[in-house]
């Protein structure tokens, strides 16, 4: 496009009226040239010793002004042809790389050129990336890559997505990344054994991942092609849903999707032996709460009982009584802690030592209040109960549907699933193949303040997952409400549309001011990706999902798992 020597053909020249620094500079756009935000540019400088330094950068701001105008109203005179004036455009560039690394500023008058092809790769530091994970497309439809080394634990792990609900498309981007991981070939032979768990927290968005999307058009297909991906639904998806409350057959409680869904629940024996009781208490590990001692004590007692007297169908015999339902279990625990005869001493093997009546009451009250939300998840009243144990291994991608559960039940399920996955990885002792976990609403599970078993598990994943091969793709509306260590341990940060008040918080300090401002107007499907290799966030657009995100989109002909698509009960309704 530019021929080396003609200044008129340069994209622009570095201005002398603004400071040029090794971090950013301004250039005046040559007449007839078009520059837009996120363009990638390069500029050279020769050092006194003859070294040629190339500076690469991304256009972060552009301004146009009328030179010769001193008053606002001069624009009318200039447009009317009365006052001479000239429109000029200048663009601000944030420097991404200087090669070789000599931190000198570009000089005023230096010619700025568009960085294309190999230079673009150099500018975005893609040239040193051996394992490129397609992360989306630039505004010019050029692929943008993530360095897998920073996601799979080699140099870093975990990815965090922030953005407001609805427009930030956090879950869609997380699903896209999973698809990219599974099918781009970046994982090599491991791809087949790499597993993903994704929690469906809202709507039924994720229940049709294995169906083609009828709304996918040729343009979107081409965008997949540009990234080297095949536009197709996920091949191997298992869908787990909680059973319908009150249903003795444990039919999965899903709306539009009925087929190919397995129910998940835990038997009373699992609940006791796996010590799941603390997951019912959001603040069970908070030192200030007296009743947590009772939780620990009862948990230990239940585990002890389960180790000796479990029936084949997953029930537990507690001191002579067979317990098959959660309600029975709560009743049994209550009887041990609050004897019918007030004079009878409380068995300290249940309550723990020197525990007051008020503390016991607090525990029982909390336990009882949880009953109605979780009783359909913890049960041994179904003939083949043990066979419904949570199966996270049979499919490449397991969708755990929790969107119809109450918050307390959601926390319970997320906590228990995470622990199961974490412990499985711990037992296996090898990091590969990787286990990816996608969890939205992190603020609910790992809030900034307080402590809980779920938060501890998430912290474990964030801090030790990198070496264990368990990778968290976490998302939340507001990073400011999430435990700092979880976000801080994410090597890759992604930001979708942010609330303008949220965007001002320190948690987004990794976004330069311009990007921070722009993050409040990002459109759905556009995200800022910050990765360790580059000091500047990259704007990526990811292609429209090739898999259905609702039953109305599900393509009956493109359906690898062979499950029929039901009629959409919500067809025609605004979502």
């Amino acid at each position: 496009m530019t021929n080396g020597n003609d200044p008129a053909a340069a994209l622009g020249l570095v201005v002398g009226t603004e400071d040029s620094t090794p971090l950013d500079f301004w250039f005046a756009v040559s007449p007839g040239q078009r520059v837009q935000l996120d363009d990638v540019v390069a500029v050279d400088r020769s050092l006194p010793d003859g070294t040629k330094v190339v500076m690469y950068g991304i256009v972060s701001q552009i301004r146009a002004r009328q030179e010769g105008a001193r008053f606002e109203s001069d624009v009318f005179l200039i447009t009317d042809g009365v006052l001479p004036g000239e429109v000029t455009e200048a663009a601000q560039v944030q420097i991404t790389r200087i090669v070789p690394e000599t931190f000198v500023p570009p000089l005023p008058g230096a010619r700025v050129r568009r960085a294309e092809d190999a230079e673009r790769d150099a500018a975005l530091d893609f040239e040193g990336v051996d394992r490129r994970l397609p992360a989306g497309l630039s505004r010019e439809d050029e692929p943008i890559w993530l360095d897998l080394d920073f996601l799979d634990g080699t140099k870093g792990a975990h990815l965090n997505i922030a953005g407001i609900s609805g427009v930030a498309t956090k879950t869609s981007y997380a699903t896209f990344l999973l698809y990219s991981l599974f099918t781009s070939g970046v994982l090599g032979k491991e791809a087949a054994n790499t597993k993903g768990i994704i929690f469906n927290v809202k709507g039924e968005d994720l229940l049709f991942l294995d169906h083609g999307n009828t709304a996918l058009d040729d343009e979107s297909r081409a965008r997949y092609g540009a990234l080297g991906l095949e536009p197709a639904p996920f091949r191997d998806v298992g869908i787990l849903a909680p059973p319908r409350a009150g249903d003795v057959n444990a039919t999965p409680d899903t709306g539009a999707r009925q087929q190919g869904v397995a129910p998940f629940f835990w038997t009373i024996a699992d609940f006791c032996s796996q010590r799941l009781l603390p997951f019912l208490f959001a603040d069970a590990e908070d030192e200030r709460q007296q009743y947590t001692i009772v939780v620990q004590s009862v948990t230990a007692r239940l585990a002890e009982i389960a180790s000796t007297s479990t029936t084949d169908d997953g029930a537990v015999r507690i001191e002579g009584t067979t317990v098959r339902t959660f309600r029975d279990l709560v009743g049994a625990i209550e009887r041990r802690l609050i004897p019918d005869d007030p004079d009878e001493p409380i068995d300290p093997s249940w309550s723990g030592r020197a525990i007051g009546g008020g503390t016991i009451n607090a525990f029982v009250r909390r336990l009882a209040s949880a009953t109605r939300y979780v009783e359909h998840l913890i049960r041994s009243d179904i003939s083949d109960s043990p066979s419904h144990a949570l199966d996270l291994d049979s499919h490449q991608l397991t969708v755990v549907d929790i969107h119809r559960l109450h918050d307390r039940a959601k926390r319970f399920v997320v906590g228990v699933v995470l622990r199961q996955a974490f412990e499985a990885k711990e037992r296996s002792g090898v990091a590969k193949p990787l286990q990816f976990i996608v969890l939205d609403e992190l603020n609910k599970y790992a809030p900034r303040d307080g402590s809980s078993p779920i938060k501890e598990i998430l912290l474990d994943v964030a801090e030790r997952g990198r070496s264990l091969g368990i990778i968290l793709i976490g998302a939340q509306q507001t990073a400011s409400e999430v435990e700092r260590r979880i976000v801080a341990n994410s090597a890759i940060r992604v930001v979708g549309r942010l609330d303008s008040a949220e965007a001002r918080r320190d948690e987004y300090g990794f976004l330069p001011p311009v990007q921070r401002q722009r993050s409040t107007i990002l459109k759905p499907g556009s995200m800022y990706v910050v990765q360790p290799r580059l000091p500047v966030p990259l704007l990526v657009e990811f292609p429209f999902p090739a898999w259905a995100t609702r039953s109305s989109e599900a393509d009956p002909a493109h359906n690898p798992s062979g499950t029929p698509v039901p009629d959409d009960p919500f067809a025609g309704l605004e979502r």
């Binding site: 010769g68 001069d74 005179l77 042809g81 006052l83 001479p84």
Partner: protein
Amino acid sequence: MMQFAVDAWEPDYGAGGDSTHLDKTEGMVDVGVELGAAEWEPVDPGAVDPPESVMFVDGVRRIDARLWITSADGLVHPGVCASFAAGAVVARGGEASVEAIKVGRGLFALAGEGLGPIVTKDVTYALYPVADDSSEGLYLGVHEQMTALELSIESDGIDLVVFDGPLRGRQSATAVGYVKTHHVQYLPEDQQRVVYRLAPGQRSPLFLVGGQGFSRWSWYVRLPGPITHPLAGVVRCELAGLGTVDDAAWRASLVTATLGRFASEPHKDGRAPQNLYPIAGLERELQRRLGDRVFLERGLRLAASG
């Protein structure tokens, strides 16, 4: 009670018009060329098709440094290094653009042996010998060079060329001299009163100014704006004394009708409305092209020392 008005121009520029201190003209003035001397009345230009292209020519000058030059005979003479520029704005269609900017730099000093141009690290000041090295004489030298630069601006194909200042001998039919200040009273008192009565957009009848072998058609115009005193917004225009009086009268009406559009407003220009917008814009651009004075002066100091 005394009647007075405050001049619209900022005091630094002098006065736009002060009838009490106008010198009487020394040249020949014939006020009876368009209308008889007794029939003088303000003239409405009427409906005129505006010219397609109008050019405004102006120049600026600036003393960059004052020098003391020691001549071969050991005497010390004053001199100045000055930058000057001339250029043009062309208003054509819906666009006004600065065209043809010329910049000159000169050393102005009394002619003498051993004098030559001054070369600094950035620019060269060409030598322009002057006959009189008083302050006024040096200044006049700079002014002459600036005028020469203005005269060298090409104006082919332009319908109307407005020079900021008197015509100064230009003999082109399309050239108009545009005089903002009234140093000389050309008209007898009766006709001068007609000038006071001009409404915005009106002109006086033509009068012919002779003298020094160069005659010009001249007239007064009142530009749009508040009339705070009898000469507020009044400028004098000149055409080369060519052709018939009818041709000149038509052209005078054309110029009168055209100028109003370019008149400035007081909150934007200290010399409103006489300082026309295109000329103000051109002057700013020319000042900019003169370069940074401190920077040039530093170059001269370096050249002087070494």
